[in-house]
């Protein structure tokens, strides 16, 4: 039981890191970004490349963050901003995101090949009575919690964070109050995709890298965003932990193949019972 809780929190931290960018993009740009999972995966692979070249895992993590953030920034310049300039609706952006997802995933496949890949990491196991915890789990949870605290500080205390929250709450109002919305959007992409890259890296530390790993995690991230209240980054963190816990705790009652479906079922229940989620505003 405790072991399930531990692995659930580990998975939850990863989902939470990914869900922050998803929910921010939704809050500020009002569209469901189906390419977010594949950006996460691309970041993880960039991290793999850097860690192999440098022989240093920490540099790999930094590479995953910067790589994914650069992808996010590049897409904003080449795809999202021109689309907004043409007055594209959120649905048009959602469909474009599917094209971006297909593109990113197959770039990864073309370069990295089909086989599973692993970071060069050896987990050490610690036992406290019946409880087993691995050094990788400790690293994942500690990193994710630290990064989320820093992010919360930025969101709460800095001018940029306040501008982000304002734009997410009411974009039109933010604009007339003199907030440079395009600048906020650029930062939303940088932070959101950077955190996703870190999430992808941490996911790869725990399991393995596969070109379709991002699409797998995407459901958990959507479920976390909706559960927490879409557009609300704190909700995404909370939702991520809950979804991760629910997926791993479900292993006690259902076969592991359906683990990934648990997030989806929670999402349906939330959509039917309380579409605004835990922390969200009415939709």
């Amino acid at each position: 039981m405790v072991n399930y809780v531990l692995s659930g929190i580990t998975l939850g931290c990863i989902i939470a890191l990914g869900a922050i960018g998803l929910t921010l993009a939704y809050g500020v740009l009002r569209f469901a970004n189906f390419s977010h999972g594949d950006t996460l995966a691309a970041g993880a692979y960039i991290g793999l490349f850097i860690s192999r070249v440098s022989g240093n895992l920490f540099l790999g993590a930094v590479g995953a963050i910067i790589g994914a953030a650069l992808i996010g920034l590049g897409l904003e310049k080449v795809v999202w901003r021109p689309l907004r300039g043409k007055g594209a609706s959120p649905i048009a952006m959602l469909i474009t995101a599917i094209g971006v997802a297909i593109l990113l995933r197959h770039v990864v496949m073309a370069i990295a090949g089909p086989t599973l890949q692993f970071y060069d990491v050896r987990a050490r196991m610690f036992f406290l009575g019946d409880i087993m915890i691995s050094s990788v789990q400790i690293i994942i949870i500690a990193t994710a919690v630290a990064v989320m605290l820093v992010f919360a500080y930025i969101l709460q205390r800095t001018k940029l964070g306040k501008a982000m929250r304002a734009t997410s709450d009411e974009p039109a109002l933010a604009k007339v109050s003199g907030i440079d919305v395009n600048r906020v959007i650029t930062w939303v992409w940088l932070i959101g995709t950077g955190l996703a890259g870190l999430g992808g890296f941490l996911y790869g530390l725990q399991t393995a890298l596969r070109p379709d790993m991002g699409f797998h995690l995407l459901f958990g991230m959507f479920a976390a965003s909706i559960l927490g209240g879409i557009g609300n980054p704190y909700g995404a963190m909370l939702g991520g932990i809950i979804i991760g816990l629910a997926q791993d705790l479900s292993l006690m009652v259902i076969p592991s193949q359906y683990k990934i479906a648990v997030g989806f079922v929670i999402m349906i229940i939330v959509l039917v019972v309380r579409p605004r989620g835990i922390l969200g505003k009415a939709v």
Partner: protein, 299 residues
């Protein structure tokens, strides 16, 4: 069927099957403005229902009918939770649903054959048409079905029912104020699209004389979207054209593969990069596709 024909013939069978599949999406998206990213689920539900029942001894025709009915019914039910919500939620809901259908197909081996899939089910006129002519027969069968569906959809699009759908797409509230039961129309559009998808799924199963969970990845749904948008949303003829162009590209480039010093895996990944790029470029520069009208776009 000799020489080049078998290849062109099989490409045209696939064009027909995906045209049918995408026509279903065009009803939902092009006409009603409903965003379904889980279209492939109905392909799977229809084909599996047909095959499972038939393997249990139910006559093929009856198995097909039950498969169509089940896919349509599930499609209609799926709109219930999402119909009141925003379009994005329907998108997320449907794609998640299609993945769950695939997991069930993969993991419930007692029902679906699991990863090995199902084979040995009857195919239409399987005992009558000689095996070496069967693809030719299937080519005709698929395209007659496509033509019937096409004519039916063209008529529906111009009918009062089709006009109400378009009005819902343009502005739901106006349709509601005019006394139309918007939810019921959406549900009907979803039902019709799901039935067409399940028909396409059965055709695919007849063509392969096999079906397995590997056929039902979300990528199939994305193909349908690319076909509809490439041809032009809300344009049935455009959907046929889109299916021809996409499969023409996917099959035509297959010829190039031996000429390029790359592994088949890398080559197919490069091909899919172009497909992704095509969708992005279309959305940026020509969202109405080849034959569509800009004012008929939902986005």
């Amino acid at each position: 069927m000799e020489g080049i024909f078998p290849y062109i013939g099989t490409v045209l069978i696939m064009v027909g099957i995906y045209a049918l599949f995408a026509l279903g999406l065009n009803v939902q998206w092009g006409f009603a403005g409903l965003i379904n990213i889980g279209h492939v689920a109905f392909m799977a539900i229809g084909a599996y229902t047909m095959a499972i029942l038939n393997l249990q001894g139910v006559p093929l025709a009856l198995s097909i009918l039950i498969g169509l009915a089940l896919a349509g019914g599930v499609g209609a039910l799926l709109t219930l939770p999402a119909i009141r919500l925003k379009a994005d939620y329907l998108a997320i809901l449907t794609v998640g649903f299609s993945e769950i259908v695939r997991y069930v197909a993969l993991n419930e081996g007692w029902l679906t054959g699991g990863a090995q899939g199902l084979f040995g089910f009857d195919i239409p006129l399987g005992g009558v048409v000689p095996a070496e002519q069967y693809n030719l027969f299937l080519l005709g069968f698929v395209w007659v079905t496509v033509l019937i569906a096409f004519i039916l959809l063209q008529r529906l699009a111009k009918s009062p029912w089709g006009r109400v759908l378009k009005s819902i797409r343009e502005d739901e509230d106006v349709a509601r104020v005019l006394g139309k039961n918007v939810s019921r129309y959406k549900m009907q559009a979803f039902l019709l699209g799901s039935v067409l998808a399940s028909l396409a799924g059965m055709m695919l199963a007849f063509y392969h004389q096999y079906l397995g969970p590997g056929y039902y990845y979300p990528m199939e749904t994305f193909y349908a979207w690319i076909i509809v948008i490439l041809g032009g949303s809300a344009n049935n003829l455009g959907t046929l054209l889109g299916a021809l162009l996409l499969w023409g590209f996917l099959s035509g480039t297959r010829f190039l593969s031996p000429l390029v010093p790359l592994s088949a895996y890398t080559f197919s990944a490069l091909r899919m990069i172009l497909v992704g790029l095509l969708l992005i470029v279309l959305m940026l520069y020509r969202p109405q596709g080849v034959l569509g009208k800009k004012k008929e776009l939902t986005f």
